[in-house]
Amino acid sequence: MSDGAVQPEFGPDLAEVFGPAHADGGPELIQLLTPEGERVHHPEFDLDFSAEELQGLYRDMVLVRRLDVEATALQRHGELGIWAQLLGQEAAQIGAGRALRSQDFVFPTYREHGVAWCRGLDPLKLLGLFRGVDHGDWNPSDYNFNLYTIVIGAQTLHATGYAMGMQRDGVVGTGDPDRDAAVLAHFGDGASSQGDVNEAFIFAASYNAPVVFFCQNNQWAISEPIERQSRIPLYQRALGFGFPGLRVDGNDVLATYAVTRAALQRARDGQGPTFVEAYTYRMGAHTTTDDPTRYRLTADVEHWKLKDPIARLEVYLKRNGLGDDDFFADLTAEADELGHTLREGCKAMPDPEPLEIFDRVYAETPPELAAQRDGFADYLASFEGAH
């Protein structure tokens, strides 16, 4: 991950400041459950999970993986124009999503299907954008979950501004757990290079805004490896802006949950922003139109398969008798049911009505646009007789 040239011959020794960097997450990686399914302990972030909680997290991951698989298949069958897969990132998203309280607000990218799931969004709603029937058909304030944002990094500034709004609303640092709120801002490793994201860090630090910057470092920005964006571990970026950065094993749902929960609480308490780097891997293509064989090795993908976020929790559950056969069988049935609903629901999604677009451009449609709409309506009507 890090580059030999980083050692300066003067000034602070970066290796000393940050500790050594390691290709596999390094010692700074916060972990509670190993790839082998061993529960390990952490001095700062340990948490007890009940059997129910563990099953819940497992269930979430299994179902969002199914959602992802179904959507991918729907794209192959021409029902979606494109799909941005989350394969491999289930733990990062469910860990983060379950750490939220209802009053928190989330700014996703275009890949946060797992977080959307945690916010209670009907997964069918996620398909509209990718099918091409809408740009997201939910009211963000119904779920405290913003629409997907496609321009890389833009939403991190919105998140910061939203958090500044929370400060002004007096819902930060009051000590009332049902009142205090925070913002969770998602972005990718590639996004960390955008000016907007770095400006978001600056504004959040300057105003001590209650925002958690949650970066899923899935090692790739389309075909570009993380090394192109940063030559030191990404979470360290935050330190230079004056707020803490942490690297968590993003394939470990327990650690991701624990770390995000702590960071959100810190924000709600009025202690300002935190950067959480969820160290994970994009197991699939960037999107269904991408061909990763052009730029990465199968061996790397195989290596990461061993760290599968679902498999490790499954091993842990089974080994510790935390889920009987019925549990797993029921879950499979539930996943099948979800798949069925998605397939049917997707195909049934109606195309939008062209004339609607004119009514939604503005809160108050100007007369000239209304005239354009009417002209187009007349034009369309002129064909009705013809056909």
Partner: protein, 332 residues
Amino acid sequence: MVSTSSTGQKVTLAKGLNLGLRKAMEADDKVLLMGEDVGKLGGVFRITDGLQKDFGEDRVIDSPLAESGIVGTAVGMAMRGYRPVVEIQFDGFVYPAYDQIVCQVAKIHFRSKGRVKMPMVIRIPFGGGIGAVEHHSESPEAQFAHTPGLKVVACSNPVDGYWMIQQAIAHDDPVIFLEPKRQYHADKAELDETATPAPLFTSKVVRPGSDATLLAYGPTVKTCMKAAEAAAGEGRSLEVIDLRTLSPLDMGPVLDSVRRTGRAVVVHEAHVNLGMGAELASRITEECFYSLEAPVLRVGGFDTPYPASRIEEEWLPDLDRVLDAVDRSLEF
């Protein structure tokens, strides 16, 4: 926090805007101001003078030096229910925020099927003539007017400044609010705060006439008024329209006028090529094809970057260039 409500005081454009902002902040505590140096300094043009003192640092927010950051965080505040009024220090510095403006501010209402409103005002001191260095005299309006989802208005005088800023803030769509910086401290006008202003998105005939129509906005309204005055001396009657709104355009008064005069000249400081004049000329021609005695002519900044300030007055449309175009139109 005392509202300086009074009638009949004479104010500059800067003061009119300042009073209008104060009114808007008094009327709705969701209104926030944000920008570089808007706090203690009151902005480099002093438009926000005294507001931080009276409304506090939470409502008049000095920002880090990053325009994308300013507009981007304002988007988030608007989503949270605030009505941010952003100051861009000079026209030429709006471009780092361009992406946030055209891809986010302009599109969020549409993207969300109208569920998320974006009641943001982006104030931009624009235009030249103040002897400034590069990037301080730009006229970026056409770029914003070309972008669906934004509304674009320009005030030209103290009284309009006072009313239009309040109307823009109260409006639920994002408004690019252009202020002719050359006029900030130039002329005073009587302000009657009890009057009923014209609606925001309307154009106004500011001088009636019958021989040709001059279309102007922002800084060129004054230029055109002077030109009409001078022309009157030579027996020519020019109608002057202050467009006030650039997107949407309010074509009613424009078409009425051109149908009467048969001739139109559009005057703006922006480059002629693809400036507002192009759109106006196209629409006028389409609507008044048989009333036009001459093609719509355009007088504007040349299609070169804004020049060094010692020659800016030659670059900017002035009375003579306006009258020259009127002559060409009349002689066509």
